[in-house]
Symmetry: C2
Subunit: 214 residues, 2 copies
């Protein structure tokens, strides 16, 4: 089966498998059955087998999956065997938080540049990287073959910025602005809409209280 046929729903579950397998690996577990994985991840064993079958099944034998192998294979599928360079556009707290995640670096996401429109920040450093004027970001992306632009700017700035990025050669936008971006198919977009998540939480609080009263 070609990658093209695999649904985004399956893809969305892969990082979670990767995370649990990483934990198992750290704990020195060498083999795990789909049933055991099912128990700790709280998804059905049949879901796990179905998901893995999209990638050839990862060779489960009678006594389960080889944890190291499975971890590596899923990592490769997720593109984590390569490095990806990224720039952060918006050097506020959120941008600084993201730049500071050593976990991302460990997974091959290399933080190469930080940009802001606030002159007071120019020349300050986030980790080892100097904050530059946002006007320079397109040239920087071109000159340094940057793959991912992280947008941690307000929504009013995010839409025009995404339009400027279209011709920069950027491959992907990780969008934290509270707006959906309209870019061509050659640019991958992943949104993290924090407000949406918080509203869902608020809904579920309400719903639970209603079930108590009913």
């Amino acid at each position: 089966m070609s990658d093209k046929d695999i649904s985004q729903a399956v893809i969305s579950r892969l990082p979670r498998y990767f995370r649990y397998l990483g934990d198992l690996k750290e704990r020195g577990v060498e083999r795990i059955s789909s049933q055991e994985l099912s128990d700790i991840m709280k998804v059905t064993a049949s879901q796990i087998r179905q998901d893995f079958n999209n990638f050839g099944g990862f060779g489960q034998q009678g006594y389960g999956y080889n944890v190291n192998y499975l971890y590596d294979e899923i990592g490769k599928i997720l593109g984590l065997d390569k490095t990806h360079s990224l720039v952060i556009i918006g050097a506020g707290h959120l941008g600084q938080a993201i730049a500071g995640y050593t976990n991302f670096t460990r997974r091959g996401f290399v933080f190469k540049g930080a940009f802001d429109k606030n002159p007071a920040l120019f020349g300050t450093r986030i980790r080892d990287v100097e904050v530059r004027p946002v006007d320079e970001v397109v040239d920087f992306i071109r000159q340094n073959n940057i793959e991912i632009a992280v947008l941690t700017i307000p929504k009013e700035q995010a839409v025009p910025m995404s339009q400027k990025l279209i011709d920069s050669g950027i491959k992907a936008i990780w969008n934290f602005a509270h707006v959906d971006l309209d870019v061509p198919d050659n640019i991958q977009v992943e949104n993290v809409h924090l407000s949406d998540s918080l509203m869902k939480l608020s809904y579920n609080i309400d719903r639970y209280e209603k079930t108590l009263k009913s």
Copy 2:
């Protein structure tokens, strides 16, 4: 139809409707048909009608939905007509970013306390709120009827913290730690796993490049 029967998939889409309706409202649009909403949101009109039918349909007439009414109704469903108090556990950049979102305040999420285990931060302020020792968080939640705990701490600390929160009376955990939490049904959990999102982006970059080569 009772709220209990509405799927989390539908709920997940409500904040996005709310966001688009808010934008329309700001632009002074008074009425919108499901087809127009479909065009700007890039979901089918039939999906929109199906989603809205879960809540009685919001009275679409021949010429469409009343934007203000629809915005208010969806806001109420999401619990945004009430205020929700929250504390932030982990006063690093991410915690500070979240505390600083005026948008959240505007939607009724009121930031009441910040906690950290780093003594150097005790007494410093995030907006008007003083950072306190994390050991005080359970008492603070009890005394101030806090509804939501935002976990912006590393995963190793998040699991024991979630266990401490269970008896605090907290209603919900907004979890940014890179781990799934195991709490009883009376505590709602919403996860924001940033690494998972970034890995999905990395997968989609790879996949797109493969389609170019094939």
